[in-house]
């Protein structure tokens, strides 16, 4: 069997140039190896709105600084030790300890004093993280370590559709539908002044598949989670290269997203044509079973949340037996 040729695509947009809270996506394949790391990070603008002055005199919000700083630290970590799935738990604990120590040091460097404001709405250097560490295995499979904190998400897109690999850390464990409707507060993310955890699941993924990490600016302004799948598939089918796919996605998101957005996608280059074909079939299914009924309700200009929710429930309950995690439930690895 041919060895997979892994390719990445990245998408990064700031609503205001130079002020974006999303870091540039991380997309690394380690030299001469069949493993890598992909991630997105979204600095939390509400909780991290305090403004800091850097040694060079420039000023930025905690949200801006946190996403970029943690991205850099994750990259540093994996440059020293490649993702090793036989050591995954230890490695994850090491990453958390490393990030925590570095955030503590960064707080000192920036001379951040305790806030005079009480309450749990403000955090020091808060950012979300959605990250996948991957290893190419024999038999056309990827072993993946799916890691997240906050409301940035990991997905897998395959012939059966778009599947969630992460569950937002929001109040009340809101699902994707509730998150879109209610915009619930985030209860866990990476930050300096409180404990936090990284959630983890591990999967063995059969190719052809596309792994995706993205921030809420990508999916948070669409009418439903089904529309995000449709957006991903329609643009993928139109594209002939990864770069073209990312450009098409950006063109579609620009007029609708009210936030910064970032996304990184990974696939086997040799699967492009097969995936196009199978996703064409899936697109028809999504269109006929979910989008048309949903948009039909919207066009009635009536608020019919229960019917919309029924469509979402049917969509969310799609069989994902083939994506059973290696560990039955996610593990949470946290700071003290």
């Amino acid at each position: 069997m041919e060895t997979p040729e892994i390719i990445y695509g990245t998408l990064w947009h700031e609503q205001r140039d130079g002020k974006g809270e999303d870091a540039e996506p991380l997309a690394v394949q380690f030299n001469n190896s069949s493993c890598g790391v992909m991630a997105v990070l979204d600095g939390m603008g509400g909780a991290g709105s305090a403004i800091r002055e850097l040694p060079d005199g420039t000023t930025h919000s905690d949200a801006f600084l946190a996403s970029r700083f943690v991205r850099e630290k994750i990259l540093q970590f994996f440059q020293k030790q490649k993702p090793d799935h036989s050591q995954r738990a230890k490695q994850l604990l090491d990453i958390i300890a490393f990030i925590k120590d570095e955030l503590d040091n960064y707080k000192e460097t920036l001379n951040i004093q305790p806030s005079a404001l009480y309450g749990n709405m403000t955090r020091i250097l808060p950012t979300t993280l959605a990250m996948i560490c991957w290893n190419v295995m024999d038999d056309n499979q990827l072993s993946i370590q799916d890691i997240w904190a906050g409301d940035s998400r990991n997905y897998i897109l395959d012939e059966r559709g778009l599947h969630f690999l992460s569950q937002d850390h929001t109040k009340g464990d809101a699902d994707a539908w509730e998150s879109l409707r209610e915009d619930p507060p985030i209860i866990n993310a990476i930050w300096q002044n409180k404990s936090f955890f990284l959630a983890e699941r591990c999967y063995m993924i059969r190719l052809p598949s596309i792994l995706i990490c993205c921030t809420d600016g990508c999916f948070g302004y669409l009418p439903s989670p089904m529309h995000f799948e449709k957006l991903l598939i329609t643009t993928f089918i139109q594209a002939t290269t990864m770069e073209e796919w990312m450009n098409l996605l950006k063109d579609q998101l620009l007029p609708i997203s009210g936030d910064d957005f970032s996304l990184v996608a990974l696939m086997n280059k040799n699967d492009w044509d097969d995936l196009k074909q199978s996703l064409q079939h899936r697109l028809e299914e999504v269109e006929n079973n979910y989008i048309k009924p949903f948009d039909g309700l919207l066009s009635l200009q009536k608020n019919i949340p229960s019917l919309q929710h029924t469509i979402w429930t049917k969509y969310a309950n799609t069989d994902v037996e083939h994506l059973k995690p290696i560990s039955p439930k996610e593990d949470n690895y946290g700071t003290k």
Binding site: Q15, G46, L117, Y118, P184
Partner: protein
């Protein structure tokens, strides 16, 4: 900056103001803060490309039921500040209402530690007829006081017949009204509470244990720096 996405952001602000005599030297500052809070918030929103489609503002002022009877807590209507011809009129009404606030009398007794019915005023604010329109919403309560509040149990005991029947039995019930999945009276994603109130057990309990609260621990906002004021505005608007 125009909101290219065409999203409608609706913001409701309810100001809760202690107008007892002890606030006399602070009331003009508080009135000024109320009248500049919404244009400042609007400016922050505009800078972030989040054009607010509708601002509604209400004012609740409170004293002490024992000394002021059933009229101890007064509330205005919601003044609607939208971008239409009616806005100017509503804005004038709001300014007039705020300018007419005066701090005099009505504090509790020495036995009560000169405390007032701040928790009852907060309860009334939480029960406001919050906006349900727009694509994204913020429902913000901003409370100004210079003193700890009476507990519900004390308030009921001191005020006797003057005390309203529909108040929470105790602080735990109020906490449930804010935070519990069953009892919450405000939408979990929209609600925010800003306290400009001194360090004391009750206000600290709120800021330590309730979600979505920012507390500036000083009398009615005294000594708030520009940086912290901007942090509050940014915190409110960045997460919407």
């Amino acid at each position: 900056m125009e909101n290219q996405q065409g999203l409608k952001y609706n913001v409701d602000l309810v100001f809760v103001v202690d107008t007892t005599g002890s606030m006399a030297n602070l009331i003009n500052t508080v009135k000024g803060n109320i009248l500049k809070f919404y244009p400042d918030l609007k400016k922050v929103a505009d800078e972030k490309g989040k054009s607010i489609s509708q601002f509604r503002i209400k004012v609740i002022d409170f004293k002490n039921y024992e000394y002021n009877g059933r009229g101890a807590i007064q509330e205005s209507k919601f003044f609607t500040l939208t971008n239409d011809a009616q806005m100017e009129n509503e804005e004038d009404q709001l300014q007039s209402y705020v300018n007419n606030l005066s701090a005099n009398g009505g504090s509790g007794s020495r036995e009560q530690g000169y405390r007032e019915n701040g928790l009852e005023a907060l309860t009334i604010a939480m029960r406001s007829d919050w906006d349900k329109g727009g694509d994204k919403r913020r429902h913000v309560i901003v409370l100004f006081t210079d003193i700890a509040p009476l507990t519900f149990e004390e308030g009921r005991k001191y005020a006797g017949d003057n005390y309203p029947q529909d108040m929470p039995a105790n602080f735990d019930e109020l906490t449930d009204m804010w935070d519990s999945p069953q009892g919450a009276v405000m939408a979990k994603s929209s609600k925010r509470l800003i306290l400009f109130a001194p360090d004391c057990e009750t206000w600290d309990n709120i800021s330590n244990n309730w979600n979505e609260v920012i507390h500036w621990p000083a009398k009615a906002g005294e000594g708030l720096s520009d940086a912290d004021y901007n942090t509050i505005l940014d915190t409110l608007m960045n997460s919407i």
